[in-house]
Point group: D2
Chain length 244, copies 4
């Protein structure tokens, strides 16, 4: 078996991560900067640093009822330690739960390469043709996703020039014109858009979501272990038997 | 099935996490502070805030060869998406890999309640009686764990008064006197000591390690998916067959 | 890293499993016999062969609502493939869900070594002292666990001499005398008792349960993927927020 | 949340699985028949019953070095219980490890619907056009997969009329003619072919592999826990650092 890596290396008295000493990263002291470096291979610039940290916070937890939180709790309740609950919760973060970020990144990168005009035309055609547009719409937040609003505000405050923000506007405008109602970008879509601005690999889209959500899953699993009785299950009376 | 939580709540246009609005946490903008809040139920004070962030960085990655990195890579190589590799890697963070933090916290909390003198006596007796002491010694770092050194330096710079630091000194002193050699505290032990200073529940010890390491596991899994051929396995020639 | 095994070996044109050719096992054709061999290192005798197979069937599925079935379904619903749901479901089979078999085996082996009289005395003392007795009692089956009844019937039909069955009788008798009501052995306890008769390692107790239940988890995950909409979650209205 | 199932139901004194009483399944006593019933919704006929059981045995274990075995061992070595190792091992059974069965089933069902002549033509075109053919070829078994040979022999002995076997012959013939060498069907392909004969849903292809392999993973994890030292890892000296 071969073992090759470009990520990190144990040397005499330190760990080298992406050409930086771990001890220097600890001294420098920003967790989200170290994450950015580890994932992308370069340090963030000051604006990216501020935005990336806020992006991680924006998905830190979304209530007890989410798919990943419930998975973690079921597993913990079977009589397992914290790592098993948290690891299990992350398993559930699949194509339909956090997975839209990757698809939206591929979409934004693709549109971005077309240039403004061609992208706008394509978006209109896609909406007219009822093609899937990733990263827009939310079950609860019909008007605006509050987490997106805060991030947008910060971008303005920083005067951050996004290369992909116009795509959000084109989609929302085209949808309003075609359907007469709002289709606001959701948090998955907005994270995707900024990660494209940073030049991240689309495959890392889900990774950023996982890193941001892990603290929430630790807290959910911890609460289950500390306060709940073992063996969470659904009672037979709640289950409908379907005859075939 | 009952669903009760004290962690977070979805309200009209926001998420409330431990009595704070998620939008305010994003504006405030420190990921590690939000993690501290979510886990412990309170905001860190300024010194805790600085130290906790550095603690998370100190375990962010420890090379490709660790148990959790290799687990993540084997799983990914079987043909699975990023979340499955990362979730699987976290599964491996069990009693022998990151799990010492919880045990060391229980030990430090226990010793701490005895007061300085009684604790010192007990520690000497334990070393004489060859009882297990958690959080000390390292396979590679025989003299000092470099990650501990940086954290110690930061504590001094901040003039942080640790309630549990004397326990580290007592163990190292007693071991030196009894065995004539060094038994330095390792990173697990040092994280445990600081988490005790912060008043964290011991059950969360492994959780802090998991949160700190997840970025490393995302990077390791991503690298496997992007650069390696499928189906990592150990060749039959490398395996020794044991006759019974 | 060292790789040593006593289980199996790839040779030129076959796999050798516990000194048997895989091709011979396929020809011989009994799946449960191959499982018995792989786990214990020996082939079952004819009575063990019959009973072991029935034991596996007895835990094949226990409804949609179990902890492991629900875990598998939540994970699948997040947008994951079959293996992730099934693997995740098995994670949940912890100390409180299937885990009693191991503890009951340790208990039966321990009692068994005492001989009949001393075991009976100890059991009475344990019940009087309210000590935990593993493998007895069931939330639903207050009188008899129907799966145990069938296995018992088969044992009688076969005239199988169990070395540990008297322990079940001692516990039930002692409980009846002391408390005036029934505490019937449950399926976990009964599997443990028979696995002790077969001489299995207690660590394998949970393993037999996992092997028996995996088909159920495959069916539950398959049904979720085939018939249910993505992203199973608990609605916010069902969750009670606890103020601290 | 809605809970609907067509699989199983807890009633007063029994479990009903696919319209059969669990107690009757235990009495009938064939584990693999119960698996067939649970997965497909019907009992196997006598020939299917014999073949399906042999198919499960054929994948029971394939050495210590497989992706799933190594995953299970890494996880267990981190200090985790049996269920976590086994569950983790199953996670690794992804698109490149056991996953070919599903794809081969889709392929065989597709070809099967074309009728013999059209299928033969399509297969020839696919081989000429270097299209991916699923379920053929093996890294080690260049001539014949020994597990396939035993299954083939049993089919002949039973005089089982396979509706899809001609497709294996067409592929092997076309490949021999076009490339002048053998491309034998592998065990994944052969299981797929028989599962098509039985009318199984392709999504269950990986499920049958998982059920067959779980005993092997239990044995591998058990061996790791019982005989190996904690914290399996790859030493830094074995890892090559790639400069970018």
């Amino acid at each position: 078996m071969q073992f090759k890596t470009r990520l990190s290396k144990l040397v005499n008295e330190d760990v080298i991560i992406r050409n930086e000493k771990l001890s220097s990263l600890i001294s420098a002291g920003k967790f989200s900067d170290s994450i950015f470096l580890l994932l992308s291979g370069r340090k963030p610039n000051p604006m990216e640093s501020i935005l990336f940290e806020k992006m991680l916070i924006s998905v830190i937890d979304h209530g007890m009822g989410t798919t990943s939180s419930m998975t973690a709790r079921f597993i913990a309740s079977g009589g397992n330690s914290l790592n098993v609950g948290v690891g299990g919760g992350i398993l559930s973060i699949g194509d339909h739960h956090g997975g839209a970020i990757e698809k939206a990144m591929l979409q934004f990168y693709g549109w971005g390469q077309l240039g403004k005009e061609k992208a706008a035309t394509l978006i209109k055609e896609m909406i007219a043709g009822k093609k899937t547009i990733y990263g827009f719409g939310h079950k609860v937040y019909k008007d605006e996703d509050p987490r997106v609003l805060v991030l947008l505000k910060e971008m303005k405050k920083l005067n951050f020039k996004s290369k992909h923000l116009f795509l959000k506007e084109e989609v929302e405008k085209a949808f309003q014109e075609s359907k007469g109602k709002k289709l606001p970008i959701n948090i998955d879509g907005f994270l995707a858009l900024l990660l494209c601005d940073f030049g991240f690999d689309p495959l890392l889209g889900k990774g950023v979501f996982i890193i941001g959500r892990t603290p929430g899953l630790v807290a959910q699993t911890f609460e289950e272990l500390k306060y709940e009785k073992p063996v969470r299950r659904v009672e037979e009376e709640e289950i409908e038997f379907v005859k075939e």
